[in-house]
Amino acid sequence: MDSSEMTAAPLPVLEPFKGVKRVPLEEYYTSGHRTCQGCESALVMKLMVKAAGPRTVVLGSTGCMYVANTTYYSTPWVVPWMHTQLGSAGSAAVGTAAGYKALMRKGKIKREPINVISFCGDGGGVDMGLSAISAALQHTEYNHLILLYDNESYANTDIQSSGSTPYGAYTSFSPAGKAKRILHRRWKKNVAAMLAAGHSECRYVGTVCASYAVDFMNRIRRALSIGGPTFIHSFDPCPKGWDCDPMMSHELGELAVLTGIFPLFEVLDHRLALYGKSKQIAEGRQKRLPVRDYLLKQGRFAHFTDDDIDYFQAKVDQMWTRWLVPGVLPFQADILGDKPPA
């Protein structure tokens, strides 16, 4: 056994769940959290630790999943959980993973696989904590997963726009007015692809949506068992900020994927692949639905005119037809128009 094997923290073996009937019954994030009705991010927490299992430590930066899950000195967490500051999901992940590694090396705790998961919202991950996440993904000697639960606004503080808010959405910072109908003119950041492209030693980056629960959990299991720092971007419908009936959370997650707005992909050992419905769309086996089907079901887009919807559709079409990798990498290399001979 060489010295690196002696010191490396052991990795768990987490086979994918083969079908919904094989999903374990145990809950490590249980009832009694003060989240909204139909909160998809609460579902993400539940599925995340269900996939990870009991030997898991969860770290959460400030956001809904901190505040709502610690209402007045009580918690729904079964596994150990710790709060960290808004921009420090990455730092907390590295520090905790390094701490466990050191304690195991010194023989202070048993050598065993312990999953370290650090989560952040889009305010914490797409805006404030992006640099710390980037740094964490460079520290390949520590095993951890950073999960971004993206509800497309600062939802906890009543819906301010973030770098992840979609074009044109009504937020506290971008109300639709008479003089200016569209105030939020930024296009949503493509965080997972950005992190995958920029961190060549990170072995796993993926996007998930909890509407596809088994796919979701299997991506978590893959990220936790591959070793080194990993990153997953989860797309979470938010009834509060999106202004929709809470019972539509699941449907809106599906629609975001089926309209092509949020592509499901993973970068596993630097090999990029679309999966699930996004793969079927790319292969022409699933019709890409019009974005109208998704936009008109949310109050945050109620001010959209047909022109706005057309613009949104054109941007999504461009993602799927012009980008180097459909829906993932926005480069439009000249080589695309200049196909080499077969």
């Binding site: 145990e26 809950e27 009832s31 959290h33 139909g38 000195y73 918690t75 509060k240």
Partner: protein
């Protein structure tokens, strides 16, 4: 000059945030027209608001600035002249955060104070929900489907001004009808809203609730530990792991442990009814529930825990079988009994109960589903109630 009058508005977080703001603001604007001063505010502890979790707004009206400032030193009034519940299911009690316990809707109503409720139910049915008070108080019911919308698109079904018109009737020392109508006219510049308020004033009927009427249960309470009783580093004890269900002689499935300090059911306005005969055991309701409120039975069916369910309706939305899970108005239920245990005890009686529940559905919705929905709902209200929610 009169005395300080306190108005409390209990509402469903986010869904009725704009509605509650319109009411508390309307009270203060009308009071100013009547030569008084007032302040409208939301309760700090409710922030950040969550969809459905009960929240409160207050309007305090005083004869002069000194009196008003005296009452502003309080976090919330100890007792109210008027408590308004803009959703009738709130009358079963409210739990706004952990350790809060279940607080009766009429908790703050003072002797001879008034509880105003918007509901399609008769006053006698509302009384049954409300916990008993040791003294008589008054109840006024505004006949209306509780008004739900969201953070950005407001459903302008005139519930706000109908409540304001009712206030002028039930609490004349707060504000006169003339001042109220003038304030509404100035704030909304809409004659139809003035008409709706006046009609509500004319139609309001008030009933006295006696101490021997109402829900006799004593609601659960907690004693919040002081800082000296908290654990080192203010760590919070985690939840224990759950265990397989034990029902009669059967052992199997799984029942998670649940946070005892925040049950969340008072967030619910609709409750899922499960028809176990139709269940195909697909797992989706259990797997997709954000609140983990389904117990897995030894038969691998899924039994709703009525203490934990907040009524989001995701289970009914993902269920692949028609009419297997149906959302039913919470007002139709009187207890939290396990539906599965009822089914096991007597399948035929349970089937009859499910049929009855589905047949007696009254209309409810939880906000925005598609563009144009609110206009359709308001048009239906107008047609059905002879000008209600829009005047003539």
């Amino acid at each position: 000059m009169g005395r300080t009058v306190s108005v409390e508005i209990v509402y469903r977080g986010i869904f009725q945030k704009t509605l509650a703001k319109n009411i508390s603001r309307g009270v203060v604007l009308a009071a100013r027209r009547g030569g008084k001063v007032g302040i409208a505010f939301g309760r700090y502890g409710d922030s950040p608001e969550r969809n459905g979790v009960p929240a409160k707004n207050f309007a305090i009206v005083a004869p002069d600035q000194d009196e008003l400032e005296l009452s502003m030193a309080q976090y919330e009034p100890a007792e109210t002249d008027v408590t308004i519940a803009v959703d009738d299911t709130l009358c079963k009690g409210v739990e706004s955060w952990a350790w809060y316990g279940l607080q009766p809707i009429n908790q703050k109503v003072r002797p001879d104070g008034v509880l105003v409720v918007t509901s399609t139910l008769p006053a006698d049915a509302i009384v049954e929900f409300c916990h008993r008070k040791p003294f008589p108080y008054r109840l006024a019911v505004i006949p209306a489907i509780p008004s739900f919308s969201g953070l950005w698109v407001y459903k302008n079904d005139h519930t706000d001004v109908r409540v304001l018109g009712t206030l002028a009737k039930v609490c004349p020392e707060l504000v006169s009808l003339e001042a109220m109508l003038a304030a509404i006219k100035e704030e909304w510049k809409d004659d139809l809203k003035v008409t709706s308020a006046r009609r509500a004033y004319e139609q309001t009927e008030v009933r006295v609730v006696r101490p021997d009427e109402g829900n006799p249960e004593v609601p659960y309470t907690f004693t919040l530990p002081g800082w000296t009783a908290m654990r080192e580093g203010v760590t919070v004890e985690g939840m224990p792991l759950g265990a397989p269900m034990r029902v009669g002689g059967e052992v199997g499935g799984y029942r998670p442990a649940r946070n005892p300090y925040f049950k969340k059911f008072s967030t619910r306005t609709m409750r899922p009814v499960v028809d176990f005969e139709k269940c195909v055991k697909c797992t989706l309701c259990w797997l997709q529930c954000p609140d983990g409120c389904f117990d897995v039975t030894p038969e691998q069916t899924y039994d709703l825990n009525a203490d934990a369910c907040c009524g989001c309706g995701v289970c009914a939305a993902v269920c692949p079988v028609d009419d297997c899970i149906t959302m039913v108005n919470e007002a139709a239920f009187t207890d939290h009994r396990s539906q599965w245990e009822r089914y096991k005890a007597d399948p035929a009686a349970y089937a009859a109960w499910v049929r009855g529940m589905l047949a007696g559905q009254s209309e409810r919705s939880h906000g925005f589903r598609y563009r144009g929905q609110y206009q359709e709902q308001i048009a239906k209200l107008r047609a059905g109630a002879g000008g209600e929610g829009g005047g003539e």
